[in-house]
């Protein structure tokens, strides 16, 4: 809402205030002033002038030489202008030598091709006017002034360019401030000063005496003013339209609105069109009541029927678009077909045009939610719909109609014909009925923590203009506190809330009014008087933090990426913990790249890797902890809220960080590329950190991953520290897949312009669910272990896991415990026999109760080697 200072000053005396001071007070009271705009700032020395004659320039085809005067018969001035449309006898703003125009341009006497110009004639732009609101005609050439413009007057004043505009950033509850009068009431309350006049008093009674607004007698009003209307009004939906009034005005002359009215519309950000339309906008801005003028002669039936649209009915609105209506839309009809979208936009057929001679002026109260639904569906958020949506003051429906009729009569040559016609439903009575809200001083103080006196509280309601009465509460026994203490015999304040403040309905609303008008700075700072509570975080939140710290310590950067991803990206990666195949997506995505709710963290992570790679960060390790989204059922993916498991995932690309200075120290200098093992190492570290053991099961079927370099991470039956809480596998339940680790399929990597990135993704939710409750103490071994190393050639297709399994099963037949098996070398190269690789293991035997004999260890090792020979055909190396 843009509020003209001059306009506001007509309603409240602001003579002693600066706009800045008022802005600060309004903002502090919750009506935020976002900006203070000075119209025509810096413009000076521009006068209203009349062109006496127009001559061709002797030396330039495109210039004209004109003579202007600033007083009838006074001295004349020669001005050179480039405007092709300059007209003798017309009035224009004239910048005399010494004048200042928009942008600080200073006007001096200046020769153009040999003719001295004493100043210049100005365009709207040069005067700093809101050119985007002007017609093409008014915008393009010189800004022509009306023929009744006061010759010689200061154009700055005449065009209202000395006005200041307060631009309000209103919260949706303060619909009352969508009008000059509403802002005046607000300023009056804040500044504690009266309005210059009551809004009702502004209504002259063009058709005779009119009852004060709120008097529900419309029929009576019609009788009072000039007899019956030519039109008949029927309202078929009282809920959506509890009050509908209209007035016929005939004898309309097509002309522009007077300059002062156009000035105020421009200051308010409204486009001036013609006198009739401008008056409806002007009164809407002043009263907050939207009005609409129909060309009455184009409503052949001379009937207005307000009803819900029929399914499939159409209406071409003022903007020339045909709208397909539904029964949700309230329409104004001529009894046959729609002629306007109620409260939103009029129809093209009945639009006021230069040919319009008679209008039907509408002023109504439409129910906000219905107007909002229609406006949102058609994406037609007009000044009118905004006001109806938030609620207009029912008391101003009639007064605004009267005011507009009076102005149209005065400014567009119209004649108010007949009385106000309309319909007021039973429901309207409830709208007019003043709301009474009760409050006590102690309730206010208890809620705010203040110590306001009764006088301070009552003063707020007085300033707001809310009538109130005070009653002593009946002494009641407060049963809750033992039945002994008498509840306060405090005075209750019964506040009557004017209909203009539709946002106030309950005691809390009044508490806010008191708080904001005494000022929030009056509220002290205290500590809540509540019983002690122990704060904390649930396990998953705690785990999320410690996992993140752990991964960061391992050298990975944490990232945050968007939940919404493209459908294609979402489909690309494994969904190991989804029970369903479907994805969820938003109905109206901003773009295709942000459409589906991710089911894997990979799309976001790879986007991060790709971004960094593009920006010449040659290698990187990133992880994210975040939710993924799986529908619970494929039959009805949207039937229930989805599962939202928390995942942790990482991507590695480029080379491992080199050992700095390694070459100088004779150590390894070439860092290898990140690969499967880099990612797996981090997974293993993470699992170890949470006391979990997992099997890495080769998986060629995981989408997006390298088929022979990927594995499922499956919870091993037995955890490192203690059995898992639910002992899932012990009960023969399916294995718990914690996630996967692998290198990306080269074709997918290519899509992100990455070379062979490695990655993993785990369900943190699952990891935490299977996490052992605590570590289990294991005492240091009392007897030394005996280590035996074995190394052998073995078929290259046999995995480490296969070897381990054979060693472990062989160990079960031993009489001494094998406590540790560590792989310490794998070799595959020039020296290995064809199809073979070499593996080397360190076996540690340890007896809990005695020192082992060397012979025992030798025998045990021989047994293991024999078993390996039999089962895996190994050949022991020398």
């Amino acid at each position: 809402m843009r509020v003209s200072w001059q306009w506001l000053s007509e309603w409240i005396d602001l003579g002693d205030m600066t706009p800045e001071a008022l802005a600060e007070r309004l903002t502090a009271a919750g009506v935020a002033v976002e900006q203070i705009i000075r119209r025509g700032e810096g413009i000076a020395g521009v006068l209203v002038a009349r062109v006496l004659d127009v001559r061709a320039h002797p030396n330039a085809d495109r210039l004209k030489v004109v003579t202007v005067e600033t007083a009838f018969g006074g001295p004349t001035h020669t001005v050179v202008t480039g405007a092709p449309d300059v007209e003798a006898g017309a009035f224009y703003p004239y910048a005399a030598p010494g004048a200042r125009l928009a942008g600080g341009v200073r006007i001096e006497r200046q020769a153009f091709r040999g003719v001295v110009s004493e100043g210049m004639l100005c365009s709207a732009e040069e005067l700093g006017m809101e050119v985007h609101l002007l017609s093409a005609e008014a915008r393009s050439g010189l800004y022509r002034l009306p023929d009744d413009a006061p010759l010689g007057a200061d154009a700055v004043g005449y065009l209202g360019l000395d006005d200041v505009v307060l631009e309000l950033d209103l919260t949706p509850n303060r619909a009352d401030c969508l009008s000059i009068i509403g802002v005046a009431y607000e300023a009056a309350a804040i500044l504690d000063r009266p309005l210059r006049r009551a809004p009702e008093a502004a209504v002259g009674a063009p058709t005779g005496t009119e009852k004060a607004p709120g008097a529900p007698a419309v029929g009576e009003a019609a009788k009072d003013g000039g007899g019956a209307s030519a039109f008949a009004v029927t309202v078929e939906d009282d809920d959506l339209c509890p009050l509908y009034l209209g007035q016929i005005i005939s004898g309309i002359v097509h002309r522009p609105a007077p300059q002062w009215m156009q000035n105020r519309l421009l200051a308010s950000g409204i486009r001036p069109i013609n006198a009739v339309v401008d008056v409806t906008n002007y009164v809407m801005l002043e009263y907050g009541q939207p009005l609409h003028a129909f060309d009455a002669d184009r409503i052949g039936t001379e009937r207005i029927v307000v009803r819900r649209a029929k399914e499939g009915e159409t209406l071409t609105t003022l903007d020339g678009k045909e709208r397909l209506l539904t029964a949700d839309d309230l329409v104004i009809t001529d009894g046959v077909r729609p002629i306007g979208l109620a409260g939103v936009m009029g129809g093209e057929h009945t639009e006021v045009t230069p040919e319009t001679r008679r209008i039907f002026l509408e002023s109504a109260y439409f129910a906000g939610p219905a107007i909002r639904r229609t406006a949102v569906r058609f994406d037609l958020r007009s000044e009118a719909s905004r006001r109806f949506e938030k609620g207009v003051d029912p008391l101003r429906v009639l007064s605004a109609l009267k005011r507009a009729a009076e102005l149209i009569a005065a400014l567009a040559g119209g004649r108010v014909e007949g009385g106000v016609v309309g319909r007021q439903s039973e429901r309207a009575a409830a709208l007019f009925a003043p709301r009474r809200v009760e409050i006590t001083r102690s309730a206010i103080n208890a809620r705010l923590g203040t110590a306001l006196t009764q006088d301070e509280v009552l003063d707020v309601f007085r300033r707001l203009g809310f009538p109130y009465s005070v009653a002593v509460a009946e002494a009641t026994v407060d049963a809750e506190s033992g039945g002994e203490r008498l509840a306060n015999s405090e005075e209750r304040v019964i506040v009557t809330v004017p209909t203009r403040r539709g946002d106030i309905a309950i005691a809390e609303d009044l508490i806010e009014e008191v708080a904001r008008l005494v000022g929030y700075e009056a509220i002290p700072s205290t500590a809540p008087k509540l019983p002690e509570t122990v704060g904390g975080r649930p396990p998953l939140v705690g785990a999320r933090r410690s996992v993140a710290e752990h991964l960061a310590a391992l050298g990975l950067h944490e990232v945050h990426t968007y939940v919404l991803v493209s459908e294609d990206d979402d489909r690309r990666f494994p969904r190991f913990d989804a029970r369903t195949a479907s994805a969820l997506s938003v109905r109206q995505p901003m773009n295709a790249a942000r459409r589906s709710l991710r089911r894997s963290l990979m799309p976001g992570l790879l986007e991060v890797a790709a971004y960094n790679r593009r920006h010449r960060v040659d290698s990187g390790r990133f992880f994210e902890i975040g939710k993924v989204f799986h529908p619970v059922s494929d039959e009805a993916p949207y039937g229930t809220l989805p599962d939202e498991p928390l995942h942790v995932a990482a991507v590695f690309y480029g080379h491992r960080p080199p050992v700095v200075g390694g070459r100088m120290r004779g150590g390894a200098s070439e860092a290898g590329a990140y690969d499967y093992y880099a990612a797996k190492g981090v997974v293993e570290a993470l699992l170890a950190r949470y006391g979990l053991k997992a099997d890495f099961v080769p998986a060629a079927d995981l989408p997006g991953l390298h088929p022979s370099r990927a594995a499922r991470v499956v919870l091993a039956g037995e955890t490192a520290c203690a059995p898992s809480r639910d002992g899932a596998q012990a009960n023969g339940e399916p294995p718990v897949v914690l996630g996967w680790v692998g290198e990306l399929n080269p074709s997918v990597a290519e899509a992100y312009e990455l070379t062979r990135p490695a990655a993993f993704e785990l369900s943190l939710t699952r990891l935490i669910a299977h996490r052992p409750p605590s570590a289990v103490y294991s005492a240091p071994p009392r007897f030394p272990g005996v280590r035996r190393d074995i190394s052998f050639w073995i078929d290259r297709s046999i995995t480490h896991a296969d070897v381990l399994q054979v060693i472990r099963s062989a160990a079960e037949q031993l009489t001494i415990p094998l406590t540790d098996v560590v792989l310490f070398d794998v070799y595959e190269g020039d020296k290995s026999p064809s199809g073979k690789k070499s593996m080397a293991y360190a076996l540690t035997f340890r007896h809990p109760e005695r020192t082992l004999l060397e012979e025992e260890a030798d025998a045990a090792t021989s047994h293991i080697v024999r078993t390996l020979e039999q089962r895996l055909s190994i050949a022991l190396r020398a």
């Binding site: 704060g535 904390g536 391992l554 950067h557 939940v563 939710k627 989204f629 989805p642 939202e644 200075g661």
Partner: protein, 351 residues
């Protein structure tokens, strides 16, 4: 003829003189050891002199024996000292030879960074946990009723314009704020009090991403419900919070505002941490930064959460994590948090 005592003593002196010179001149521990063997060994010079002892008259023996032993002790001391000196020098030389460039980088463990948003979330969580708050989380995909209706934002309410939403169906949407967690927690807790929770999480709005808007961002919501909770408690709590997050000298200011789920409502400003409140570019020369929305829980919201608004009251507040992080770290484009440029993240290794 047996040697005279005088002659032996004279020889003893000449041995002393020679040995002292030789030990002093020894250049290596090995040379020192050779001298030790030569003079002090079982078949050494001193042992040779001692062999004359029996030939001496009985009365002369003690005096000569003492003289030889004195020389032995003196030489042992000197050899010990000389050896220690040579070993120290040798060690010194070896250490010198092992000199390295201590300014070369260490072996890279290259710690990763926690994301700045995570750091801010956790700092805020810690502050409130210290004040007795429990962290509560809720789903990102919500029902309209939790996201709006139970928060006093019925369908077709103009306040829905404040938050343009990503709907999945007519009734299901990506939550536009963390406030639905309030509702869920109240329903789980009512009618027990006090309820003190902090709810961090992602929220989503149909905004075009630019320097100041993000279709997804992070919010932290706080809620306190109990008997006799006052707006002054809200102010005191937020003052504490602001001091702990932005520094002890931070002040706060409440301005009237509107949220459908609180009444009265307030915008909360803190004194600009960049300039301390004197005015700078960060605070647009106002000295204040708007960081929180807050208010007293609307009775309809308490009711929808299962509480009796006549018996309990509450306050709620919400803040944007990105906004705080932008202020704290001087970031001027919200998209930066979701780009995850490694060169930027690296600067957050130190936290």
């Amino acid at each position: 003829m047996p040697p005279s005592l005088e002659a032996l003593k004279a020889e003893l002196e000449s041995v002393r003189t020679k040995a002292v010179q030789e030990i002093d001149a020894a250049k290596t521990p090995e040379a020192v050891e050779a001298l030790r063997v030569r003079y002090l060994g079982k078949k050494g010079v001193l042992a040779g002199l001692m062999s004359h002892l029996r030939a001496l008259p009985a009365e002369a023996r003690p005096s000569f024996g003492q003289a030889v032993n004195a020389l032995r002790e003196a030489l042992e001391d000197q050899i010990g000292a000389r050896r220690a000196a040579l070993e120290a020098a040798a060690l010194e030389a070896r250490l010198q030879a092992e000199a390295i460039d201590v300014t070369l980088p260490g072996e890279a463990l290259a710690p990763g960074a926690r994301h700045p948003l995570s750091q801010v979330i956790e700092a805020i969580e810690d502050i409130f946990i210290g004040m007795g708050y429990r962290i509560a989380e809720g789903p990102d995909v919500e029902w309209d009723t939790y996201n709006f209706e139970r928060l006093n934002i019925p369908k077709d309410h103009p306040a829905r314009d404040m938050q343009d939403s990503f709907y999945l169906t007519d009734e299901m949407l990506l939550r536009t704020h963390t406030s639905p967690v309030q509702v869920r927690e109240m329903l789980a807790m009512a009618p027990r009090t006090p309820l003190k929770i902090i709810c961090p999480g992602n929220v989503y709005r149909r905004d075009t991403d630019d320097a100041t808007h993000s279709h997804m961002f992070t919010q932290i919501e706080g809620l306190v419900v109990g008997e006799g909770v006052r707006m002054s408690d809200l102010k005191g709590t937020l003052e504490q919070f602001a001091r702990r997050l932005f520094g002890e000298e931070t002040k706060i200011r409440l301005r009237p505002s509107y949220f459908p789920f609180t009444e009265p409502s307030a915008e909360v400003d803190v004194t600009c941490s960049a300039c301390g409140g004197t005015g700078c570019r960060v605070c647009k020369w106002t000295g204040w930064l708007e960081v929180l929305g807050a208010g007293m829980v609307h009775p309809k919201v308490l009711e929808a959460g299962g509480y009796d608004p006549r018996r309990v009251s509450g306050f709620a507040f919400g803040l944007g994590v990105e906004r705080i992080a932008m202020i704290k770290y001087g970031v001027d484009d919200i998209r930066q948090f979701y780009v995850n440029d490694a060169r930027v993240l690296r600067s957050f290794v130190a936290c």
